[in-house]
């Protein structure tokens, strides 16, 4: 069996993690990466977040707007639109069901 590591698991749920990071507050690329890492997903790379944001935007789940800055470069902010919120809700339920099944399984076997 393949050893389970966070990088492997992350591939399946990175979309959901990024959507969740934008639930309460819009954010720009590096900002979103920082939120994910603060939340505990230390292994997330910048390229993964950038690529995921591009993909979710192309998929019509995100809106963007540019905020000019006096000190640094302009920042491109991402925000959930209606489709993005619906997707977050749907995928979130799938994940919770999956996670609780795994929890139960691991508890029964006495490995948790």
């Amino acid at each position: 069996m393949l050893p389970v590591d966070t990088t492997q698991l992350l591939k399946g749920v990175l979309d959901l993690a990024v959507l969740a990071a934008l639930r309460d507050e819009d954010g720009y690329g590096y900002d979103i990466l920082r939120r994910l890492r603060t939340a505990g997903l230390d292994e997330v790379g910048d390229a993964s977040v950038y690529g995921t944001l591009r993909r979710l935007f192309n998929g019509g789940l995100l809106n963007t707007y540019v905020v000019p800055s006096d000190e640094g470069p302009h920042r491109k902010y991402y925000a959930l639109n209606a489709a993005g919120r619906a997707e977050l809700q749907r995928s979130g339920k799938v994940w919770q069901g999956f996670a609780s099944t795994m929890d139960d399984l691991l508890r029964e076997r006495g490995t948790a």
């Binding site: 690329g29 910048d46 390229a47 993964s48 950038y50 000190e71 640094g72 470069p73």
Partner: protein, 329 residues
């Protein structure tokens, strides 16, 4: 410092783009569309160069590639497997045929009926194996019959059949447990060879039993006469008989040899101009002066045989002790 940053971003971007060179251009452009701005944002955060913060551009490109699902470098979808497509098409047709032909045999599927015949095939397979083994081991030079005789022994033939049939049945029952690929394929290959050998064997056995009549009466000369090319008949005087015809007890003409003669000059073959035997009087093994086929033989010449001074043989028997009769050498 903006200039330095811009330079760093351009360099990094260039390296990432190069590492994604195998992607279709539109995909790559779309992917990298926002990257300059993004890299500028990253640089604006405190601390370090792009490489220090993000790692080498190649690693960044690899992560980017993984995030959009392009794990391998496939600009186009992999070419379809023609062989697998063909196999699937053939199998699909066979399945349809299987169902359609089923009612002919009184089953839902024809294969349900064929499966019942399987033990019969095992027995036949055993017999065929015995025949092939006998053919390989037998050096008696006799043509194959219907029993796998070795050295002409029927006992061995029957034992061989019994052993091979039992072995084949045993193998047939065991072959259901073959899960690996190669034993099954070896079995299929062996069966194919057996079937081909069987078709060849039955075809030759069939033609030899069908042709037996034909060749016996007309051409086949029986043992010992296979090498006969011409027939020379001599009368009791030792003279060559020309235009002879020979018949068997039923009045059927016996044909031996073939009516072609070697031409003296060219060495080529020519159809005989003579009716009956011999086809080629010029080739007569024994010459009698009384009936020289090449000396414009006529009844009148017969008495006045040409006398040469050196002739040791004379056509008119002279009762002298020194005279030698013309006789077969």
């Amino acid at each position: 410092m903006i200039g330095t940053e811009q330079y760093e971003i351009t360099n990094y971007l260039h390296a990432v783009r190069a590492a994604l060179g195998d992607l279709p251009e539109t995909t790559r452009d779309e992917l990298l569309d926002d990257l300059p701005e993004h890299l500028a944002e990253v640089l604006a955060e405190a601390g370090g160069t792009l490489v220090e913060r993000l790692g080498p551009p190649e690693a960044y490109a690899a992560e980017l590639r993984a995030s959009i699902g392009f794990v391998g470098g496939f600009p186009d979808p992999p070419p379809p497997d023609k062989l697998a497509e063909l196999r699937d098409a053939v199998l699909g047709r066979l399945r349809v045929l299987d169902v359609k032909a089923g009612p002919l045999f009184g089953y839902e599927r024809a294969s349900a009926f064929l499966v019942l015949l399987r033990p019969g095939w095992w027995v036949l397979r055993g017999y065929l194996v015995a025949m092939v083994v006998a053919w390989a081991l037998d050096d008696s030079g006799q043509p194959m019959g219907l029993l796998p005789r070795i050295g002409g022994s029927e006992l061995i033939a029957l034992l061989l059949i019994a052993g091979a049939v039992l072995g084949s049945i045993w193998l047939g029952r065991r072959s259901f447990t073959f899960t690996e690929r190669w034993p099954r394929w070896a079995l299929y290959a062996g069966s194919t060879v057996l079937v081909l050998v069987a078709i060849g064997g039955f075809a030759s056995a069939d033609s030899s039993s069908r042709d037996a009549n034909y060749s016996d009466v007309n051409y086949d000369s029986g043992p010992g006469y296979g090498g006969v090319q011409d027939v020379f008949v001599y009368d009791e005087q030792g003279r060559l008989v020309t235009g002879a015809r020979i018949f068997d007890q039923d009045g059927t003409p016996i044909q031996l040899g073939n009516p072609y003669c070697v031409e003296d000059g060219s060495g080529g073959y020519e159809h005989s101009v003579h009716m009956g035997y011999p086809y080629c009087p010029e080739q007569a093994p024994f010459r009698s002066p009384a009936a020289r086929p090449d000396a414009s033989a006529s009844p009148s010449d017969e008495r006045s045989a040409p006398v040469s001074p050196s002739a040791a043989v004379s056509s008119t028997p002279v009762p002298t002790p020194s005279a030698s009769r013309s006789a077969p050498r």
